[in-house]
Symmetry: C2
C-alpha cells in the first residue's frame, strides 16, 4: 500500500501481474485494443495493490515531452501579470499542462538565465513578457523553432507571435474621455524601464496622436517616462508648471498608485484639481474615492489565448498565418474623470 522503501516501477507491477513491462505500459497508455480482459484486470489490480505511480520524468526523457511550459513575467508585482498568469494556469490545467512561473524583474540577465534553465528542463514552450534586450536569444530560439509567445510587449526585430493590447487605442480612449469632459491640458506619466519596452512607447505615441486628432497641442512638459520612484517628483514638477496639466493618464497600475499617493499627500481633489485615468483596471478602482476611471485590458482572454497559441504550436496544430494579435481596451467610465462643471 505504501512504498516507503523503494520506488516501485512498471517492472514491479508487471511481475506482480504476471505480465511483461510492455503490457503494463500499454495499459497505462490506454491502448487496450488488443489486450485480454483479464490481463487488463490483473494489471489494474496490481497497480492498485502496489500503489504504483508513473514516473513522468522517465516518460519525459523517453518521449522528449514534459507537458510543462514556462511563463516568464517581467514583473510579478503588476496586477496585470498576476491576472495573466492566472488565466494561463487555468487553460493549461484544463489541458493537463503545468506551468513554471518565473519572475524576471525586468532584468534581461535573469530572463536569460530562466530561459536557459527552462530549456534545459525540456520545457516545451515559453510565454514571456519580453525585455527588449535579449534579441539575439529570441532569434536563436526562433531559429531552433522553439515554441515562444510574447505577451503584453513585443520585440519587432524578432518573428514571434504576440498577444498585446491595442495600446494606441488605449491611450486614445483615455484622451477622448478627458476631452469629452473638457480637459485640455492633458499629461501622461509612464515608467520607463531601462529596456525599450514597446508597450510604453505605443502608449505614449498613441497619446500624442490622440491629442493631435483632437486638435490639441502636445506639451512635452506633460509627457514623462521615468522610473517608478521618480513618478511623484515628475508629477510634482508638472503641477508646479506655470500652467499645470488638468488631467493625467497613468501608464499602468503602479504609476497610477504613485499618482494617487501624490494627490493624496498634497490634497489635490480628483477630478477637480486633476482628472486621472489609469491603464489597467486595478482591483480597487471601483471602491476608491472617487471611483477610478480606467482602461481595462481583457486579461483573462489574453492569457487564455496566449496559452492556447503556445499549446497549439507545441502540439503542431498550425496557427493560421497571423502572428500579432491585438486586443481591444475597454473604457471603464467611473468618476476620476468627470466634467468639472457638474462638480463645482
Amino acid at each position: 500500500m505504501n512504498s516507503k522503501e523503494r520506488t516501485i516501477t512498471i517492472a514491479d507491477v508487471a511481475e506482480r501481474a504476471g505480465v511483461s513491462k510492455s503490457t503494463v505500459s500499454q495499459y497505462l497508455n490506454e491502448r487496450y485494443e488488443y489486450m485480454g480482459e483479464q490481463t487488463k484486470e490483473r494489471v489494474a489490480a496490481a497497480i492498485q495493490d502496489m500503489g504504483y505511480r508513473p514516473n513522468i520524468v522517465a516518460r519525459s526523457l523517453k518521449q522528449k515531452k514534459s507537458t510543462t511550459i514556462g511563463v516568464i513575467v517581467a514583473n510579478i508585482s503588476h496586477e496585470f501579470s498576476t491576472q495573466i498568469v492566472k488565466s494561463i494556469e487555468d487553460y493549461c490545467n484544463a489541458a493537463d499542462f503545468h506551468i513554471i512561473v518565473c519572475n524576471a524583474e525586468d532584468d534581461p540577465a535573469k530572463e536569460k538565465k530562466y530561459i536557459d534553465m527552462l530549456r534545459a528542463k525540456q520545457i516545451e514552450g515559453i510565454i514571456v513578457f519580453p525585455t527588449s534586450t535579449n534579441i539575439e536569444l529570441y532569434k536563436e530560439l526562433t531559429l531552433e523553432d522553439y515554441p515562444l509567445v510574447f505577451i503584453d510587449r513585443n520585440v519587432p526585430e524578432v518573428d514571434v507571435s504576440s498577444i498585446m493590447l491595442d495600446n494606441k487605442r488605449a491611450a486614445a480612449l483615455a484622451v477622448e474621455e478627458f476631452v469629452n469632459h473638457d480637459y485640455s491640458r492633458i499629461g501622461i506619466l509612464t515608467n520607463s524601464t531601462v529596456n525599450n519596452v514597446t508597450t510604453r512607447i505605443e502608449r505614449v505615441d498613441g497619446f500624442r496622436e490622440a491629442l493631435h486628432s483632437h486638435g490639441l497641442e502636445v506639451n512635452e512638459d506633460y509627457i514623462k517616462s521615468v522610473e517608478l520612484n521618480y513618478i511623484q517628483d515628475e508629477l510634482s514638477k508638472m503641477m508646479h508648471l506655470s500652467v499645470p496639466p488638468d488631467a493625467i493618464l497613468a501608464g499602468n497600475d503602479l504609476v497610477l498608485a504613485e499618482i494617487l499617493k501624490y494627490t493624496k499627500q498634497y490634497n489635490l481633489k480628483i477630478p477637480d484639481d486633476l482628472a486621472v485615468i489609469g491603464i489597467d483596471d486595478v482591483s480597487f478602482a471601483s471602491i476608491y474615492n472617487p471611483e477610478l476611471t480606467t482602461i481595462a485590458q481583457p486579461t483573462s482572454k489574453m492569457g487564455m489565448d496566449a496559452a492556447k497559441l503556445l499549446l497549439n504550436r507545441i502540439k503542431g496544430i498550425s496557427e493560421n498565418g497571423q502572428k500579432h494579435y491585438r486586443y481591444e481596451p475597454t473604457l471603464m467610465r467611473r468618476s476620476s474623470c468627470k466634467a468639472r462643471r457638474q462638480i463645482l
Copy 2:
C-alpha cells in the same frame, strides 16, 4: 552553433573533445580536481562549439532530483498569495530551484489532482495553502516522508511544519485599536470557505477573546462568516440592526474590498459611520480615502521561511524539532480607525 537537426548529447561533446563521456560529465559537475588543464579546455571548447545544453530531465531521472518544488495556493486572487509566491520564488531562484505554481481555488479535488501530478513529476517537495479536506492525502505524504510545508493555514490532524500568522494576535491587535479609539460595538466579517479553514477560525476566536479581555460583550449578530458574495448582504443586515456595529474587522483583503464597496454604495463615512480595519495590508491601503488601517503579515519573510524550511528538508538539513512557526502581525495605523471625537 545551432542544433536544429538533432539534440546533441554528452556523447557528442566527448567525441568532439576526444575524451570520454565521464570526463565531460565530470567537467559539467565541476569536479575538475583530477582533470588535465588542457582536457578541461578541450571539453569547454567542444561544449561551446556544439552549443551543448545539458538535459536536466535525464539528470533528474538518474539522480531522482528535479530541483523543482510545487506551490499550491488556495486562491491566487488574494494579494497575500501573490506576495507569498513572489518571495518563495525569490528564495528558490537564489537556490537554483524552480517552482511550479498551482491554483487550487479552494477545491480539494483540484488540490489532490495537483499533488498527484507534482509527485508524478518527481517534484521534490510542496508548499501548500491546505484545504482541510485532504487530510488522508496529507497523512499519506507524511508517512512517505514527502517534504511538505503548510503555509497560511494548518491542518491539526497532520504532523506537518507550518508557517502561519499569529491570527489570534492579529484579531486582538485590531480589537485593541478599535477599543483605544472608543469603538465598542465591534464586528467581524470573514469569508467562510466550505472547508474548515483554521485561519478564519483562529481570527474569529481571537476576536472573541480580545473582546472579552477588554470587557466587551460578544454580540453574535456582529460575527459572520459567509461566502464572499454574501458579505455585503451580511453587512447590510448588521447595519440595519437596531443597534448596528460602529466598527468592523475584515478577515482578509477580499472581504475588506466587499466592505468598502458597501460603505461606498450607501455613503457610509469611514470611520465616522463605521470604523474599519482589514487583515492583510492591501496595496491600496495608504492611498485610499481615508487611508486604511490594516494588520500586516510579514509575507516576504513568511514566504522565504517556507521555502527555506522546505529546501532544507529536501537537502536533508535537520530542522530543529519545532514544527509550527507563528509570525507576528503588525498594526499599520492609518485613518480608517480614528477617534471620532477628533473628526467630529
